[in-house]
Point group: C2
Chain length 256, copies 2
Amino acid sequence: MRILLTNDDGIYAPGLRALRHELLKLGAVTVVAPATEQSAAGHSVTLLNPLLVSEVFEDDGKTFIGWAVEGRPADCVKLALLELLPDTPDVIVSGMNAGSNAGINVVYSGTVAAAVEGAFFHRTSIAVSLEYDKKIYDFATGARYARQVIEQILARKPADGSLFNVNIPVLERGPIRGVKVLPQNVTPYQEQFDRRVNPRGRTYFWTTPAFRCPEPHPETDVTALEEGYITVTPLKFDLTDHARLTEIQNWGWELR
Amino acid sequence: MRILLTNDDGIYAPGLRALRHELLKLGAVTVVAPATEQSAAGHSVTLLNPLLVSEVFEDDGKTFIGWAVEGRPADCVKLALLELLPDTPDVIVSGMNAGSNAGINVVYSGTVAAAVEGAFFHRTSIAVSLEYDKKIYDFATGARYARQVIEQILARKPADGSLFNVNIPVLERGPIRGVKVLPQNVTPYQEQFDRRVNPRGRTYFWTTPAFRCPEPHPETDVTALEEGYITVTPLKFDLTDHARLTEIQNWGWELR
């Protein structure tokens, strides 16, 4: 099996390294990932700048890992499939991200965007993220769980272009309670900016870590993750609100 | 009516100026938009840098337009609603973008992302984009059509958080044939990179304009736009593939 591995934390991120270590048990892994951190890149792509690439090796300087790209997660997947990889991968894995990508965060996530881009190319694509607490990230343990989930997804031979969002809960709160397949939570987040004035008198704002979802729907990715379950959410990239199409078609549109 | 206007082409873009001119016929317009072009920003947000803001005025230096933000389209909407605007707007409009945002481009679009962000805040949110040919953008005419569509959407008093993606077809090919309400096309695009080597011997790639959708589904935003219709697509931001949830819940998940 040929696996393309990417992420949004950058090619040298420990989450990617741990996940690569586990995925090598499943097949041949080639990494094409951003050269630098691209958190919250969403599904941005690079139109105005050149995408520099460089080959990356293990610490022996000889064992080829893949390519670092001076671009976004979605750029990496495009370049990998169109230019860099000699053969089309069977599966595209994105992660393991430092921090969960559940609820509305799915929309901001570069990790998920890379997987969506893989689905555009009709490959099975899986985003993997690890929730954390108190800045402790046990990527090695998280990646072992992630690999088990990925194995079980692939064993089912999902249709080409199937897209999955996998989140691993905080590992330090006790044993994982199981796997739950649930929808993305869509209730809004609360967030806060910190307003300051710079030495030249200009106002600026920092985003703050006070970004929380006060009332998640029960039985969603956000709640199950909080309860200690691994969550799996099948995603799609058709944003159409199909339920409202007919109603809006009948609005009697007119142009003058 | 209070209108927040944003975009991804930057606060000084002619498409925004033309749309503001038309929206002033509907109510009070405040602009909060990126200071510089943010095309293909997707739903990226700024976590690691401060968001500088500055007040922007009309050419008389006195008539207040709004704020320029050194950030992404989605940052602008967040800042507008949480910090900058004295009152919550009734509607958020994003555009008018130079170039359509239909099909898979919806996912890359900063214009659409700003509207999605508005929907997160439970406001009616409308993304507006203008297709073009041979680099001619008649934003003035496009904005007149866009205002008519926006008027008709608002006249229906859609539920809070309703989200619409509006595309205006090429205006130079003849009169607009009408308004069609259709789903987003989801067939894949073809694209190409241009591979080069820089003076230091490093390989780099440029994205190219050869980004096209060879086989769009009939009766989608992409086909209707090509046929000369204004397209309206109701969107939502739940990416869950609900049709597959039950099947995948029954996969007999196991962890070791």
